[in-house]
């Protein structure tokens, strides 16, 4: 066992690869162009699934943070951190694919539209969460502060979700809402992409959690070693040159 792989990651990993291959086929080849957008509609099948992975990640961070504050379990602390990192990565993808999609459709890469701004704020807040986890502080202090931010930051999801309804802007409304109209193959392609990306997100999360676990073990071992060396020095200093 010299890697973070296991039977579970093989199964989920292969399912994700097959799912992504199929979703690429549907997204880029089989699904039709949109009547106004033309082929740029194909960016929907990567834009929306990446925010789905982000939301899932941040949801897990919230859950993990709540449970960690109740029982100080390292499992939930590390899972929350791993999920937030994946969430941040996929929020970056959402911002980039959105900007690329905006140019040929809206006519601009960026506009300080409510949803775009809210998503950027969410991105920065979770970057802050990750920064807290890397701070040079005692481990429990770090984890506790991160958990508090992990709970507060969930408000971003609600703001991003409703930003298209609360304020006027350029971004379209909910794609998967009651008023939605997505023609046959488009809806299926979107569904397939979301499933494939969620599988990919799960695979990444398992690996990232295991890496976080290993990092914690290394940190604990280093701390233990440093402590015992200090004790050794205290005792050894008296012996002076004899030790050499």
């Amino acid at each position: 066992m010299t890697s973070t792989s296991s039977k579970a990651t093989y199964v989920v990993g292969w399912a994700a690869i097959v799912g992504l291959a199929l979703s690429l086929l549907f997204a880029l080849v089989l699904s039709p162009p949109e009547v106004n957008m033309g082929d740029s509609v194909r960016l929907l099948y990567v834009h929306l699934p990446t925010i789905a992975v982000s939301y899932l990640g941040y949801g897990i961070t919230f859950l993990g943070s709540v449970i960690y504050l109740r029982n100080q379990s390292p499992f939930w602390d590390l899972l929350a951190g791993a999920a937030a990192e994946i969430g941040v990565l996929f929020t970056a993808f959402v911002l980039v694919t959105g900007a690329i999609w905006g140019k040929p459709t809206w006519g601009t890469y960026w506009e300080w539209d409510p949803r775009l701004t809210a998503t950027t704020v969410m991105f920065i807040m979770y970057l802050g969460y990750l920064a807290i986890r890397r701070m040079d502080l005692p481990q429990e202090v770090r984890s506790r502060r991160a958990a508090v931010v992990g709970i507060i930051a969930i408000a971003n999801l609600i703001i991003v979700r409703y930003s298209v309804q609360w304020w006027r802007g350029l971004h379209q409304g909910q794609t998967l809402g009651v008023d939605t109209q997505l023609d046959g193959l488009m809806l299926f392609s979107l569904f397939l992409s979301v499933v494939a990306f969620l599988l990919l997100g799960a695979w990444l999360l398992i690996h990232r959690f295991r890496v976080a676990w290993l990092e914690r073990q290394v940190e604990d071992m280093r701390l233990a070693r440093a402590l015992s060396e200090r004790r050794g020095e205290a005792g050894g200093a008296a012996l002076g040159g004899v030790v050499s």
């Binding site: 957008m37 006519g107 920065i124 350029l170 379209q172 794609t175 809402g177 046959g184 488009m186 050894g236």
Partner: protein
Amino acid sequence: MTDLDLTPRDVPTGGSGSLRNWLIVGALAVVAAFVLFQALTSARVYFLNVDEAVAQRADLGDDTFNMQGTVISEPMSTGEAMVFTMTFGGENAEIRHIGAEPTDLFKVGEQVVAKGHWDGTEFVSNQLLVKHSEEYVEDNPDRLDYELDDNGNPVHSSEPTDGTTSDGSDDAGQ
């Protein structure tokens, strides 16, 4: 005789590490402040529908704001400007757009957002963005074959014809 290594171990001490802490916090604070500043200054640019913009015309003066509406006339080119009519809530506005051309999604029936100011009863725009609705309609090459009724009006049902497909293909059920 070897000296004891007395350099600090890498246990959290608040030494050189806290400089890194402050750098991280500082960098994020700068980015957050920038985003907040941008969001607040652009939020001060009103986002009005055509009917509201018409009603507040006197108050708005030559302030810059965003006006949202649906394109109802084919745009006409007059020199460097593009002239068309926009509507919302029963009010129309004449738009004179000077600036980058909108994307090819711009056409009659689409919602657009024009940024500019009133000039008399005309709205002078210098940024013209196209809004897309959450409706995604398949661009079917032979959609006109079955989507127009006898009067040439579009219909939204794809009722099967009498069992035979006119173009000879059997993918009508997709």
